[in-house]
């Protein structure tokens, strides 16, 4: 039954996304345009005599960083964004009186957005390859495993974010954290080694840093699972701590919701 519901949620949310066609198309168009931005940025740096970054071209480095950041943004923001949308349009209550577990009813509407995140990553990598990104050394098996392990860690931030939206309606510190701190300190657009040593402490406290490093290792240098194993272990550790904590926060938020009856408030 849960699988059937998940499929229904994905279909339903794809239909909703497709119903706003301009928004749907521009999202994909934006992804392609960002590839061009990275390409010309790389061209500029090459004129200045910039060499290779982490064993590959800067363009390839940027493509992976850009794709991952989109994935990061969607997976961490999906739950809260969809939840708030449901609250605003008044569909959350009818959904919560269906014979669906509350957690699935609250988080399930984001399932399409998560899938779309994976799709957008693949598109960016594909377009990047067509324009000159070099994935000839890529170990795709390792890359997929890194993405899956990263996803479980990123989802924790998304669940925290949803819990904040349930309780506070507006004001989502997780979203702020991802959009500001994570982008600067996790090596999305430049290697974290460029940061001063004291700021690098922040980088190493973020799971995204390890996810990106492992992903670039797999895609740019063809590293095996054993070679990125250290980063995967750290990511697993983050997940082991963050996932139960985020689920606990969500359970608290649902209890708060049931006690206050503030579901329809926004």
């Amino acid at each position: 039954m849960t699988a059937a519901k998940l499929l229904a949620l994905i279909t339903h949310n794809f239909r909703l996304a497709w119903a706003y066609k301009l928004n749907f198309v521009t999202r994909y168009l934006g992804m392609i345009i960002s590839v061009l931005l990275f390409f010309f940025l790389d061209q500029l740096l090459q004129r200045g005599g910039a060499g290779q970054v982490e064993g590959g071209t800067y363009f390839t480095f940027l493509i992976i960083g850009g794709a991952f950041s989109k994935f990061l943004e969607l997976s961490s923001h999906a739950f809260s964004a969809n939840l708030r949308e449901e609250m605003l349009q008044g569909t959350i209550e009818p959904l919560l009186v269906t014979a669906t577990p509350v957690t699935l009813a609250l988080l399930g509407p984001s399932s399409w957005m998560l899938l779309e995140g994976v799709l957008l990553v693949l598109i960016q990598l594909g377009v990047g390859t067509a324009v000159g990104a070099d994935f000839s050394q890529a170990n795709w098996g390792t890359a997929v495993l890194v993405l899956l392990v990263s996803l479980s860690s990123l989802i924790s931030y998304g669940i925290f974010s949803a819990a904040f939206v349930i309780v506070f309606k507006r004001g989502d510190p997780m979203n702020w954290f991802i959009n500001s701190v994570a982008y600067v300190f996790s090596g999305v657009f430049f290697p974290v080694e460029l940061l001063p040593a004291w700021l690098r402490i922040i980088s190493y406290a973020l799971p995204f840093t390890y996810a990106l490093r492992a992903l670039r290792g797999a895609l740019m240098r063809g590293e095996t699972i054993a070679e990125v194993g250290g980063d995967l272990l750290v990511l697993g550790g983050f997940t082991a701590v963050l996932l139960p904590l985020s689920l606990f926060a969500l359970r608290y938020a649902i209890r708060h919701l049931k006690q206050t009856g503030e579901l329809a408030h926004y």
């Binding site: 339903h12 909703l16 569909t91 209550e93 919560l96 014979a99 009856g261």
Partner: protein, 334 residues
């Protein structure tokens, strides 16, 4: 009779800025299977809080409640599988999607087997006269059509119990009558569903509900059929009379009678005077007439300014004042 809904000492207290606010206090009632049960009370009486607790949207702070035999706290999923909820707010749809797409989604969420979904959608749309709107975007539907679709949505999984919270609020009179007839004839009489009908409008409940619960300030004031509730009333009566004759002498004669609570002169014309007379017992009415005859007066016209409707019952149980003026105003609104 099987009790399909049962509330025992059900209570809800909210915490608001450090203060406890009691919305529902120790209420007890039950609803029988196949009954059309009215939940009536003025705004703030606690109706919606009760419904939200019975539909698992809100956790009680005291007491227990079962719906279709399932505890609303410990067996939430079973309760939700047994009910359909319609609120006055018709925003329960994804406006850009069609009626069919919306119903497909809710059907899947309600565990309707995939192969049965198209047939079930066809049935509920036909029931509410919306088959021709199946592929129209719900945002293009009129308010009344949306509200009918809302009830169709609540019925998509064919639940035995329906909670209808002011379902006819945004409908015109004809649509409202159509929907109420459908609820009574098709859903209750034919399909044997139990319907809890919530409203703060009495005319919605009269001649419609089998039994009514009257709520005020989060407590139950009375439960029963309209006739049972009426029988609980003291036999007080309020008459408005237009008489010819000496007003002062008539008033004096009436006030001297046992069982006359008050005599109020409302207006005086050249030959006629209008009075309101409140009687402790309606049988005193004959003595009132005798005073007119004995004083050589003439009764031009009269009417009962109160009546045996639910309005009077509510006025009695919620402590509201009953006067000819507010009774007539309410009558005009009806």
């Amino acid at each position: 009779m099987t009790e399909i809904i049962k509330a025992t000492n059900l209570s809800k207290t909210y915490q608001s800025r450090g203060k406890a606010v009691t919305a529902v206090s120790h209420i007890n009632f039950s609803v029988n299977q196949g009954e059309l049960f009215g939940l009536f009370g003025p705004n703030g009486a606690g109706k919606s809080t009760i419904v939200r607790m019975l539909t698992t949207l809100l956790a009680p702070t005291g007491g227990t409640a079962t719906v279709n035999g399932f505890d609303v706290v410990r067996q939430e999923m079973q309760v939700r599988a047994s009910i359909g909820l319609v609120t006055a707010d018709e925003r329960s749809f994804y406006g850009r999607l069609t009626a069919r797409q919306n119903l497909q989604f809710y059907a899947a969420m309600q565990n309707v087997p995939r192969g049965q979904i198209p047939q079930r959608i066809g049935e509920v749309l036909a029931l509410f006269g919306l088959s021709h709107k199946a592929d129209a975007a719900t945002q293009s539907l009129s308010t009344g059509q949306k509200q009918r679709l809302n009830i169709a949505r609540a019925l998509i999984h064919n639940p035995p119990i329906l909670f209808l919270d002011e379902p006819t609020k945004s409908m015109d009179v004809q649509t409202s009558d159509f929907v109420k007839a459908l609820i009574r004839d098709e859903l209750v009489n034919q399909q044997g569903k139990t319907v809890v009908f919530i409203s703060h409008e009495l005319y919605e409940m009269e001649n419609f509900c089998d039994r009514v619960i009257i709520l005020a300030n989060g407590t139950v004031q009375a439960v029963g059929t309209p006739a049972e509730l009426g029988a609980l009333l003291p036999r007080r009566a309020l008459f408005r009379l237009v008489v010819e004759g000496n007003p002062a002498a008539l008033a004096q004669g009436w006030q001297a009678l046992d069982g006359v609570e008050s005599v109020t002169e409302i207006s005086r014309g050249a030959t006629q005077t209008t009075f309101d007379i409140a009687l402790a017992d309606e049988r005193v009415w004959f003595a009132v007439l005798a005073v007119i005859e004995g004083g050589n007066g003439r009764l031009e016209s009269y009417h009962r300014a109160d009546d045996e409707s639910l309005r009077r019952i509510v006025a009695h149980f919620s402590g509201g004042e009953l006067t000819a003026e507010n009774a007539e105003d309410a009558e005009k609104k009806r």
